[in-house]
């Protein structure tokens, strides 16, 4: 019986992976992490993440919980994992947490960021982390449009039809669009997300930014519950899971 629970904060460059979750068709972040855990503990340790990230999506602060018997200290676990993991995955921190902690079930909210390069020319050094839109974007209009996402809504229109869940009601806590030089960042924090939700939200906001949709379109799209009413699904490489939030009282 596993006697300890550890909380790991993990950064990864998603470029090379089929996503967080172990799959038969390629390398996953979960599999490289579980393989390293097995080498260290000689136990079969399951790594539970706060949520799946899709193929190509990055994480700056994915949270992972593991249960184990091994007595290795948290600090030693971090060093050992980083020595075994490939360069494109790193464990930023490891801490001992109460046994009830579960990376996904205990999460209160998650913050995703989608990065757009809004400039006429692509930037080679941003190729893996920003989606190039070679058009000017009305960022203020995008930010105003995004406010209609905040609250508890049925996000059926903002998920891939084939992957639609029985209930598509989710709560967005905050949404904003801001500009830093040629980069436009779409930040969405919510208690839960549907498949492709942030990528379809971003595609819809880009439609607003170029004037293809009105800035009051979001309420109508939510009400329609039709995927076809929303914008396109932007590519995965602009997306990063920035942070996962938990209630403070779960820590040991």
């Amino acid at each position: 019986m596993a006697s300890r629970t550890l909380k790991l904060v993990v950064e990864y460059d998603g470029t090379r992976f089929v996503g967080w979750a172990r799959q038969s068709n390629g390398l996953s972040v979960q599999s490289v992490l579980e393989d390293a855990l097995q080498v260290i503990t000689r136990e079969s340790v399951r790594a539970e993440a706060s949520g799946r990230t899709d193929a190509g999506v990055h994480a700056l602060g994915q949270v992972v919980s593991i249960h184990l018997n091994h007595s290795i200290t948290a600090a030693k676990m971090r060093v050992s994992l980083n020595a075994l993991l490939p360069d494109d995955v790193a464990v930023l921190s490891v801490e001992e947490v109460a046994d009830g902690f579960h990376a996904r079930k205990s999460a209160k909210s998650k913050h995703y960021r989608y990065t757009i390069l809004s400039d006429r020319v692509r930037r080679p050094l941003l190729l893996r982390t920003a989606f190039h839109v070679p058009l000017p974007l009305d960022v203020a209009a995008m930010d105003r449009a995004a406010q209609a996402l905040v609250g508890k809504h049925d996000f059926s229109a903002f998920t891939k039809l084939a992957e639609r869940k029985p209930s598509c009601v989710r709560t967005v806590l905050s949404a904003s669009v801001c500009k830093h030089g040629p980069l436009v960042q779409v930040d969405v924090t919510g208690t839960g997300f549907l498949y492709n939700m942030v990528r379809i939200i971003t595609g819809t906001l880009i439609d607003v930014g170029v004037g293809r949709k009105n800035e009051d379109c979001i309420a109508q799209i939510l009400a329609s519950k039709q995927r076809t009413c929303a914008g396109f699904t932007v590519p995965p490489y602009g997306l990063a899971l920035v942070e996962v939030h938990y209630a403070g009282d779960l820590r040991v």
Copy 2:
């Protein structure tokens, strides 16, 4: 006889290249650019850069001059080049300049930046652009030490022995070290640079930052003219040519 001169500002991710200069042992930025120019102009166009960058070194603003007969507009040239170039090279701007303009000979100064990740854990998303030093750095001491580089000095100690030039006297116009979160940036602007100069300067400043060298060491190292007195050569992937400066009067 070539009748026009164009000035190109080029960004590239150096990871995949043997450097700027065409070489027999692999793909160079010069070769992919000259190949694209040949397709567009059907002339054999030589691309002259402000200076060579080594294998793995990036450029945010490399400047390239070309002479050609073709009548294509500057704007069309930019679009055509970006359509033909691989994703890790992009032409940010093209402008018509006076025939006397030469990217290297006309350059007044160049600004290089070396980026260090100073944190106990590597960051996967910075893997291609920052050198990981898993130790705390005294950035203020590094910055003070760097001031002794400013001025006209014999930089023999700061170049690879095997590549030493007849004269190693160069002028550094400014040097600074500053911290942005876990990133430490070493910025050096000078009228000319020796082979590996910025990378050896950075390695020496890291020695100062960790306390392995005193912050007044630079003057002694310069005076010694001995490569062995300076610090190690940091890897190329942390280095970027940021900008090249020209006298304003050369533009058409």
